[in-house]
């Protein structure tokens, strides 16, 4: 069976270029102090990629520790309820720590070890990347400091406690909008100060080159597995692949191996929040314009003066005014499209998946589920939608209870 599978297209593998650019997006708008470290990091990544032992170690941990490959699951009851296209879920929620973030954290932490860096810093929004980082640092015996906006600390308490249990220090960030954007600023300031000793374990496929490249390369395991699994199951590729987009790591991870399959639609789902007014959503590609944030030229939610504006989403992991440069490029070239899903719609997706499939999804992933339900309703059983179920929803129970008016 395997030999009849088509291979992912090689042409789409050649970006970014040597300047870290995806078309005009990406690059390194970084303080000079970090430039030598970014170049060292890029070289270390290239060297690691060429070392079979590095790949073997990632593969071993993926199989024995993370539980890969994660299953591909057909959500038949959900599909039947909607009565349209067949919905398949890539079950990243079943990965150790409960989300796709572990794929990236393991790869970068092993890279840090290769580089001889023992102090790891990370930023986190929903806490999933923070938990993944704390987990891997416990596993590999590395020091871990996680920057987290104090607003996010408030709404993701279980993950904060998890990180502390795992031995990480969680540093609250109280400036700016007190969310992911500001946690990244603070982590960058730490890195600028401690660059010789410290590895910045960046959580999403955004920021300064080479992070969009490294994170994407480590997350494409999702799409490679899913592409093979769905072909083995159906003997065909899906009609559409969908994923939630905050910074964009789970989406690029599942999109990238399908980028060369011209007939497969790639659809990113952004956080529409309360609606389209500035400040009430985090739909960066839908409503933003070209700009430079956190060292990368991409699309940014900003005012006319280039000040980054505050965002809102029910899900902390999507509450970010930027997006990875590869998504800006996929949007610009028309290869992928991006649509908003509101808080209320995401909550609908969350509940539907709970009730029909017995799966409690993360609120981030619920955005993709909600859009897949809308999309599937207008289609027939011949259409296949593959959804990246990027994380599980245990961390969100308090938020969902509050939205539903339930006191825990």
């Amino acid at each position: 069976m395997t030999d009849t599978l088509t291979k992912p297209d090689a042409a789409s593998q050649s970006f970014p270029d040597e300047h870290g650019r995806f078309g005009r997006f990406g690059g390194q708008y970084a303080p000079e102090t970090l430039m030598p470290a970014l170049q060292e990091l890029e070289q270390a990544w290239i060297d690691a990629q060429a070392d079979p032992a590095f790949h073997d170690e990632i593969a071993r941990l993926a199989a024995e520790y993370v539980g890969r490959p994660t299953p591909l699951y057909e959500a038949e009851r959900l599909s039947n309820e909607i009565g349209g296209a067949r919905i398949f879920l890539k079950r990243e929620d079943l990965a150790h720590t409960g989300a796709h973030k572990i794929n990236n954290a393991i790869g970068q932490a092993l890279l840090a070890k290769r580089m001889g860096k023992k102090r790891i810093i990370a930023e986190t929004g929903a806490g999933q990347h923070g938990v993944a980082s704390a987990t891997v640092c416990a596993l590999l015996g590395l020091d871990c400091i996680v920057y987290m906006g104090d607003l996010d600390i408030e709404r993701q308490k279980p993950n904060v406690f998890r990180m502390k249990l795992l031995g990480a220090e969680v540093r609250p960030v109280t400036n700016g909008s007190r969310t992911l954007k500001d946690a990244i600023n603070e982590a960058i300031r730490d890195w600028v100060t401690n660059v010789e000793s410290t590895f910045y374990l960046f959580g999403t496929a955004a920021g300064m080159h080479p992070y969009p490249l490294i994170v994407r390369d480590l997350q494409t395991v999702i799409g490679r597995e899913a592409r093979q699994q769905i072909q083995e199951r159906l003997g065909a590729l899906p009609t559409a692949v969908m994923a939630a987009v905050g910074g964009g790591s789970n989406a690029i991870g599942i999109f990238h191996p399908f980028a060369g399959d011209a007939n497969v639609q790639l659809i990113g789902i952004e956080a529409g929040g309360h609606g389209i007014e500035p400040g009430s959503h985090a739909a960066t590609i839908v409503a933003g314009r070209e700009g430079i944030l956190h060292g990368s030229r991409s699309i940014v939610l900003q005012d006319d003066d280039g000040q980054v504006i505050e965002t809102h989403s029910i899900s902390a992991g999507l509450d970010y005014p930027g997006v990875g440069p590869e998504h800006a490029w996929l949007h610009d070239t028309g290869r992928a499209s991006y649509v908003p899903i509101t808080d209320a719609e995401a909550l609908g997706g969350f509940i539907a998946l709970c009730r029909t499939e017995g799966i409690i999804p993360a609120l981030e992933s619920s955005h993709a589920v909600a859009y897949a339900m809308q999309w599937a309703a207008d289609r027939s059983k011949d259409d296949i939608v593959l959804v990246n179920l990027s994380g599980r929803g245990d961390k969100d129970l308090e938020t969902v209870a509050r939205e539903l008016g339930v006191t825990l």
């Binding site: 708008y29 470290a37 600023n185 100060t193 010789e196």
Partner: protein
């Protein structure tokens, strides 16, 4: 090596004038619109009267990732009061109209400049009287897009080097730099410090080997002793957070007087060999 390609020459002239007095040029930093637009204008004139040779004017940005707590705070206050890049240009235009002649260098992050439009930025800089730009998130590799329109209008794009810069990177900066080179004094973000980094002498020699351009030391310069030490190894000294902290701590009615005495003390320390006219 060409000494300077600054076509306005205002920045080069300011360093040369200080050098002729055997001292380092003194370059204080103010955040545009802090504590208010009106008080900023008063402070700017007061600093010049107290002996500033150039003034660095910070353009507030929502995400100042190379700045420590002080400049984060002043930027936020300025933004809350509606400061913009255009209003900062207008403040400098008014400073020039009232006879202010020292070079003004804007320090700000890429995005507000990028959104303003780089050709428009260069043209407005000429019109308002802004001589150069320091952009801490614009390394050599990304600089050409910004440098070209500024160069065409005779504005200097000021490059930064840092203690982590390799010799090859310093050489690359030296080839492209005009005006002066901003030598970041430490590995870290802006903000007041207790002492200067012990490696700073060798670091400055390493930079000097690659360029004849004026070298200015900034980040963490907080006391007259720091200024004296920096003046012994550089052509210019930049003072920011320590002065802003002093201004912030003073009652509103005394802010101008506090800034004046702060800069006067710093100016005395810029003279080498303890000389002063």
């Amino acid at each position: 090596m060409t000494a300077t390609k600054s076509s306005t020459n205002a920045i080069a002239d300011a360093f040369a004038a200080a050098a002729a007095e055997n001292r380092a040029a003194l370059m204080p930093y103010l955040t545009a619109g802090y504590p208010t637009a009106e008080r900023f204008a008063e402070l700017l004139e007061a600093l010049v009267a107290a002996g500033a040779n150039l003034v660095e004017v910070g353009i507030p940005f929502s995400d100042p990732l190379a700045d420590g707590a002080t400049v984060q705070h002043t930027s936020q206050i300025a933004l809350e009061q509606g400061m913009t890049l255009q209003k900062a240009f207008d403040l400098i235009r008014e400073f020039r109209r009232r006879g202010g002649s020292v070079p003004i260098v804007f320090m700000g992050y890429t995005n507000p400049f990028f959104q303003y439009g780089l050709d428009r930025l260069a043209a407005e800089a000429v019109d308002a009287g802004v001589d150069g730009f320091i952009i801490p998130d614009l390394p050599l590799e990304e600089s050409e897009e910004f440098a070209v329109p500024l160069r065409e209008r005779g504005r200097d794009l000021i490059f930064l080097v840092s203690p982590t810069s390799t010799d090859a990177r310093i050489e690359g900066v030296a080839k492209k730099a005009t005006g002066f080179i901003y030598c970041v004094s430490l590995t870290g973000v802006t903000g007041a410090r207790d002492r200067l980094w012990e490696g700073i002498g060798a670091y400055m020699q390493r930079i000097r080997a690659h360029t004849d351009l004026p070298l200015a030391i900034g980040f963490g310069i907080s006391t007259p002793q720091h200024v004296a030490q920096a003046a012994s190894m550089a052509d210019g000294v930049i003072v920011a957070s320590a002065m802003l902290n002093a201004i912030a701590a003073a009652p509103e009615s005394e802010q101008v007087a506090v800034a004046t005495s702060f800069i006067s003390a710093m100016k005395t320390a810029t003279y080498r060999n303890g000389q002063q006219d």
